[in-house]
Symmetry: C2
Subunit: 224 residues, 2 copies
Amino acid sequence: MRGLGDVLMQKPLTVAEQVANVLRESIAEGSLAAGTPLRQDVLAERFGFSRMPVRDALRQLEAEGIVSTHPTKSAHVARMDATEIREILAVRALLESEALRLSVPNLGNEKLDEAGHVLKQIDAEPNVGRWGTLNRAFHLALYSACGNARLLGLIEAHHNAADRYVRILLSNLNYRSRSQSERRDLLTTCRHRDAEAAVRVLRKHLGDGMETLAHAGDGLAGKS
Amino acid sequence: MRGLGDVLMQKPLTVAEQVANVLRESIAEGSLAAGTPLRQDVLAERFGFSRMPVRDALRQLEAEGIVSTHPTKSAHVARMDATEIREILAVRALLESEALRLSVPNLGNEKLDEAGHVLKQIDAEPNVGRWGTLNRAFHLALYSACGNARLLGLIEAHHNAADRYVRILLSNLNYRSRSQSERRDLLTTCRHRDAEAAVRVLRKHLGDGMETLAHAGDGLAGKS
DNA sequence: GTTCGGATACTCGTATACGAGAATCCACAT
DNA sequence: ATGTGGATTCTCGTATACGAGTATCCGAAC
């Protein structure tokens, strides 16, 4: 539910939020693998703050579904088995299809150009770590005119939740080129304001990801 | 995102969670109106605990979208304007249509009977305050066989978020009888395993709610 | 009378301190 | 050798204490 309006909330950044941001990025990037224990005092010392803001950060990340906590045991990076990934991608397909359908008719040229610009950035970006962010920016640009802020927030949250595994996908060269061409198709159909065709491309895009993950990710299904 | 598996998590209940539950119910019930300030020290004294668990509870409720917090100002019960209600109901229509479509083919007779039992309970229940809970139970029973726990969690979260306003609806006698008959229709179509007809009934059900709220709720659109 | 400036009060964020519950490990008995 | 019991240790949850930022209110000057 976070990120529902990150830009327009002029709240001062608390330490807890900064910690949450760093942890989220570390988890998405992969340096904190699934199952890694996250002890409050260890993190507190590492960041140079007390346990309190770390607690808040862990709570927030738990709400986002990327860490699990237990009152008497230490928190750990959420393990995600194949069924959960499937569920997330199924929900994403549902949410994003609707967002796309709503957005395409109202999509301004600026947003389309913005999405095109992001595509060029992806081509030019050598650092694989940033692709997850760019991928999200591309999709959100296309959905931005859907007229439902809450829907956008949910989509962003689910991107965050699945980011780790999408990045695994993106490290696969084969998938990378195919998905990039799918993104191009998606942008083209949007430029033609053909919502239904765009939805078909999107669903194929996400379906491909699910399939690739199901094959490549047999080893990642760890039980706690 | 809460309630994704309330039953199966055998975590010990912390004070913070108990506080969150009480506050959530008070907000849904209406005794804490939108905009009501929620000062940490006041709540702490009222509950007889320190500010820390209250802080945690407020954070959790913020993640659920029913309270708003600000680093330097006091938290308050989230105000919800007409557009936000529309957004929530639109998302619910999307999520629940899909859940219903997935669930109906796999729906066992036990769950159908359970839903029917809840319907009888609604008829017999004099206390309006419990209807929101019963209404949620009815819907979740019908979706329970959708095979996607995350989808169910999202639906439950959005029920919670809109609960306050649904209860306003339910206090309207006119709407109450109509919605009850719609629920009956919904159950009937599910019994016939006619998913598409069920979805149509559901969408009408939610659409009616939205319309009634839009008319009756002109006065509830408070600006912060 | 109005407006600007400063001091005061209020609320939250963060730090430190303490207590409770669970898991682990070792010793002892069988 | 193995199983059981208790003590120790580890981690989190909660309480208390302090500091920082903001809004408010009052007084003085224009």
